[in-house]
Amino acid sequence: MIKYFLIVMCLIFIFPAVSLASADLDQINQKVCSRFDEDALKLAAIMEELKARKKITETRVAYGQVDTPIEQADYWVNFAAEAIAYQKIQKYSSKERLRSDLGVLKNKILRAKNEVGKVIDD
């Protein structure tokens, strides 16, 4: 009888602890993604201004087929923005997994930054 009681009491404390931990990871995910969102917005604004200065009025490329450095940069900025949106909806139960995925996302943004840098230098 006491054995059953102990098992149930353990479940009572483990269940809310797990759900609270997931909520914490979700908060962390949203906080970091919001910060990355600002970076993506800046990259997009830089590209808009660059195209205005070079008098380019084409629409943004989303599915590859990039021919010019500006289209290439546009593609990677778009790619980074979509990756951030995708990351925001992910749910995590492991801190290490979340950290790893956020690291991958950071590198995608850095790639976009690099591509935009090439266009600015031109």
Binding site: Y4, F15, K106
Partner: protein, 84 residues
Amino acid sequence: MTKKVWIIAIFITAIVIVVIFNSTLLPRGLALPAGRLQAPLSSPVPEVNNYNPPVEVKYDKNTDLKKELESINPQVLDSDFETE
């Protein structure tokens, strides 16, 4: 008989404690603080979460785009993972 009563009592206690920890499981009417009246809802009302519209960033021809680009520094900090 006593054993069955024990099992049922423990089960009910467990459910009550889990529901208290996770108040979203409570029906809407029970979640209100005592003493507050609420008219019965005729149809479900969507919950409006705090919506923060995205910040608009716009540059003009005088902006140093290279400097703006260098200010972009995405980082995943250890402090992000520290619980408050």
